[in-house]
Symmetry: C2
Subunit: 215 residues, 2 copies
DNA sequence: CTCTGTGAAGAAGTTCACAGCA
DNA sequence: TGCTGTGAACTTCTTCACAGAG
């Protein structure tokens, strides 16, 4: 109901709702209830209603939510009208996977530049993205890019992050295991593959699980 | 202090502490305080003390924690004495990245088998892992493997997951955007790359951030 | 002194349960 | 009737602040 500030936990779920609603809309679905949506995304229906209520009164009592209306509302909330340009540093296997990942189709995001140290890769194109030498990272103009994906080996992570900060990015999606030191107006999100895997294993060994099958 | 049940939030941080302590130990560090460790991992020192207190009284007042003692305690808690065997389904760019990722070195985990549909890949080896045909996934014996990584295209995700469940895995690390339907004694953790990227962008646009630079 | 371990307070997130609108 | 939106309860997590051990 309030537009004050959406809780972080809610914010993390919005992109998920958005994508599911896109699929529902494409397949011609007109209306959906919170419990039906909850089954698809495996989230309790009360949580979904609470989440959506933070955005405004988007549903109709006795009816549910109008898929396209909700979708266009979320598109607006998530800034999906505007293309988000992203750069990538480190074109190894992971970086390549990200370049081929179609962020554009569902999310209106695009990796517009990539940087790597490997001279064989520089000048080539993967997906639609041209690869530049890492030296150019410092000198290129990045005024229109505020987000970077960091997918370099751990050894170089902090120093590349320092350069990224100096180029003016305000967010870094960090795939390296290094906990980066950055000024505290820069947001860093971590995706730490071995921590994720190890956490899963730990939970399997220690949390017997009758609960829902979730995250 | 209690061994009852470690909070989930704590459990998710243990692998991180473990890795950092490994590095500290390797570099010869003998003792560390919660605030020093907190600076490295960017977590409040009180949270670290609370986390570690769930495992037992591992520190010494006025001294801090003995690095190697803490490390070997965590090694035990995280089952790091035993090799965890993992299988991978889907050897695209992401799957390849995971195969080359050295889970073994720091985490005593190993991808022992990989499956793909691509006949050109079947029979080859990436890293140290031999690639099998996806048909064999159903027929192979996987008694010693309880965790699978799912890195196939979205279209096939649910049906591969069904097969994985039938082979007896109890945990799936799911890199596809599909929210899998599985029996509720199976644990699924999601790593959804476009959701992560979109969430970061949303936070950049909406959460001005004076807070620490963190996740 | 220094630094842990923890009671107590606070903040954040989830779920229940139901009034009330369509 | 079938559903949302939301008070209120509950659960989980974080942080403060300090007694007390070394």
């Amino acid at each position: 109901m309030n537009q004050d500030k959406i809780p972080q936990a809610t914010a993390k779920r919005l992109p998920l709702y958005y994508r599911v609603l896109q699929h529902l809309s494409e397949s011609g679905k007109q209306r959906i209830s919170s419990s039906e949506l909850g089954e698809v995304v495996k989230i309790d229906s009360a949580t979904i209603r609470r989440d959506l209520s933070h955005l405004g009164a988007l549903g109709k009592k006795g009816y549910g939510y109008h898929v396209d209306r909700l979708l266009s509302f979320l598109r607006n909330v998530l800034n999906q009208d505007e293309l988000t340009k992203v750069m990538l540093v480190g074109v190894g296997n992971l970086g390549t996977a990200l370049l081929k990942y179609n962020f554009l189709k569902n999310n209106n995001m695009k990796i517009v530049k990539a940087y790597d140290t490997n001279a064989h890769k520089v000048g080539t194109t993967i997906g639609e993205t041209l690869i530049f030498s890492i030296q150019q990272l410092e000198t290129d103009n990045h005024d229109d890019i505020t987000v970077a994906i960091l997918a370099v080996p751990a050894e170089g992570a902090q120093s590349v992050a320092d350069v990224l900060v100096s180029t003016g990015v305000s967010g870094i999606l960090n795939f390296t295991p290094v906990r980066l030191s950055v000024p505290n107006d820069i947001r860093v999100h971590h995706i730490d593959l071995s921590v994720e895997l190890q956490t899963l294993v730990y939970f399997l060994n220690n949390y017997p699980l009758k609960e829902p099958g979730g995250e």
